[in-house]
Subunit: 221 residues, 2 copies
DNA sequence: TTTTGCATTTTTGAATGCAAAATTTGGAAT
DNA sequence: ATTCCAAATTTTGCATTCAAAAATGCAAAA
């Protein structure tokens, strides 16, 4: 198994919440599961720590990073900035074909909304945002965006989605597609910022504060 | 020696150009120099690869990453976006004390300019930009900024600095400080973007294209 | 002289072993 | 019964070792 694959596998385990935020990462167990020795596992953990997904405590092992409200706010803030930048650049550089692709993804997402399929809706949503970012044609930007959204991702799904909010989000997406089709960089940038601001408010109001497993057991006891 | 320290030491070696872009990273040599074994060294190299400073070639070891013109353009583009965001946020949040600190750094930098001390000028320049970014009060943003500027840094010093350009850069910095003191977020953001755009033009016009050592030896031969 | 094929050497990537540190356990004293 | 302390166990971090892959050198053939 290649180094990057090990990193990816562990990243997925963390993002799926299989190892909950704040929980210790059991080296030996993961080694057996991935069928590798501790050396490559620890290399991967160090990389994930640099990404902010893992917290290393010297001589005390590693834990799945726990995000505070402040962390989440900061991540959204940066995410807003990155998407806003991507929106402007995308409008300058995107091809008609790529616009068509994003329009198709948008239509599919709206269909999932009509069907009330939240999971598929989120998947489509993500594809659109990623499509815009990638349309900026800047791999550095795409890379940072991927890193930031990965850390945010878990929170997105814990947010309760009311029908009113959902409808509003879809309307925002209509505006996003419209600005993109008009290649209105400033407009797109503005809408994206607002869209993310709203999402952030939802997540933070939902009382996002990752309690680590120890605290949780204490509360239960 | 702590893991983070190893990463830092190697990062410095790369940023100082001691191992030139494209050159192989001699594991054994570095091990002896840092007085560590290959295990922690390789952990550090993997982290630096994730940061984009090192390129890993499976079964062929690691090389100092070589930046193309496109890479440099992309990095500057993202850097612009990050600084613009930081500028807006800083104006909302910065304290009078922090403004005073940046003003002092600015004065010192101008003094270095008058004395013609380019090295000290660059150092002061960097302190100001970092000060603004940190004043945004967003560690995620500060982290990404550090990572992006690290990769750009080497190029900055290869740019020939004419007295005209230098004077203009200083005048831009006057405007930056002014906007910050007025807490004019939009204005600061705008000036920072222009400032970086100019810097980027200089760097790219200087014909930045990192030739790796092999190509170099071929040219010499 | 240049090129090709093979053996040797070097280097890489990963497993193992070992010392140091931290955690847990068990028992004694209060 | 509870608290505190020391011994035992586990876990961490790193050096070493080992197998596989790549690079190098050399001789033979074109």
């Amino acid at each position: 198994m290649l180094h990057e694959e090990v990193v990816g596998r562990i990243r997925d385990i963390l993002l799926d919440g299989e190892i909950p935020p704040g929980a210790r990462i059991p080296e030996r167990e993961l080694c057996e599961r991935l069928d590798i020795s501790r050396t490559p596992l620890r290399e991967a953990l160090k990389v994930l720590a640099a990404e902010g997904l893992v917290q290393l405590l010297p001589h005390r092992g590693s834990r799945a990073a726990k995000l505070t409200d402040k962390d989440m706010r900061d991540l959204f803030e940066v995410c807003q900035g990155l998407e806003a930048l991507a929106g402007e650049l995308a409008c300058e550089r995107i091809t008609d074909a790529d616009i068509a692709e994003i329009a198709a993804a948008h239509a599919a997402m709206v269909q999932h909304y009509r069907e009330g399929d939240l999971i598929q809706y989120y998947r489509g949503n993500r594809a659109i945002h990623e499509g815009i970012v990638n349309a900026a044609g800047n791999p550095v930007l795409s890379g940072l965006y991927a890193s930031v959204t990965a850390r945010i991702r878990r929170a997105r799904y814990v947010t309760p989605m009311t029908s009113q909010r959902w409808a509003f989000a879809v309307s925002e997406h209509e505006a996003i597609l419209n600005a993109l089709q008009r290649r209105d960089g400033a407009g797109l940038s503005h809408i994206l910022r607002a869209h993310l601001r709203h999402k952030r408010e939802e997540v933070l109001q939902a009382g996002f504060a990752e309690t680590d497993t120890n605290e949780l057991t204490l509360k239960i006891a």
